[in-house]
Symmetry: C2
DNA sequence: TATTGTTATACTCTATAACTATA
DNA sequence: TATAGTTATAGAGTATAACAATA
């Protein structure tokens, strides 16, 4: 029990460390001026879901609605997302990817993935399986 | 091959998505005013390594030396790290954790881990093993 | 000349607080 | 009253550019 707690604590510290490390590494290698990682994340959500409100996106990305509103305003100004009124609730605003947004996301998104794709190609089949399984686990932790 | 590339690309996208998600989730749950995640990361490095230069830390955390310098200046001002001259190279500056830094890191660090620790406790033994293995793999990707 | 670090400046991401409009 | 969104403001984290000191 003591031992298991200790190893759990180590695992927690390592997961935190490696998450930050991966994030900064990604920022360092992909310094394109075209789309930031946060923008890619938002656009991916919209591409998957079709249309989402500011609040939906904020919840999904674990940020405050005001923060998401600011991010969406930038994307809208750049013509990458479009807003339309909610059909039945006048308070809500629905966002979708614009055609240009879809195209930009496809091109820039892939370019931004390059480094990580190359890195993951160095893993063998077992290792990739482990990593993919772990991704599902982390997602579960986040959704708790 | 096409299939394997497609699944690799999906894995890349998912890893990126879940990394950002975990990061924002952590920021959202641990909004303590005491230490930021970046500060915890730097202090952990110093605790592990003993003494490191600005450039060492910048490399380790994949940020520019100027960025690391700014972060260290804040930590120093708060009495959490101490600087001393390099014994043989007058340009370099060595940083170590202060006694207060070590103590703060222990207390605040553990508090900041709480949410993730609780989340990881919901995983079974197999799942934890998978996650721990994946952490090592991601570290390898980052160090490439 | 190359390296280490500092200073000045700016941008991104996010937060909190106060407000408006709609339900 | 409660919810969705906006506006205003601030702080953390990082980057680039220009500089000084040392190797």
């Amino acid at each position: 029990m003591t031992e298991s707690n200790a190893s759990l604590e180590i695992a927690v510290a390592e997961l935190l460390a490696v998450t930050g490390q991966l994030l900064r590494r990604l920022r360092a290698v992909s310094n394109t001026r075209e789309l930031t990682w946060s923008q890619v994340a938002i656009m991916s959500r919209l591409d998957d879901a079709g249309a989402l409100t500011t609040a939906d996106l904020a919840r999904a990305e674990s940020v405050k609605p005001q923060s998401m509103g600011a991010a969406l305003a930038v994307l809208e100004q750049e013509g990458l997302v479009e807003r339309r009124a909610h059909p039945s609730d006048g308070r809500q605003v629905l966002f979708t990817l614009s055609e240009q947004g879809r195209e930009t996301r496809r091109q820039v998104g892939l370019a931004k993935h390059e480094w990580l794709t190359a890195a993951m190609e160095t893993l063998n089949a077992d290792e990739r399986r482990t990593l993919i399984e772990a991704i599902g686990l982390i997602r579960r932790l986040c959704d708790r």
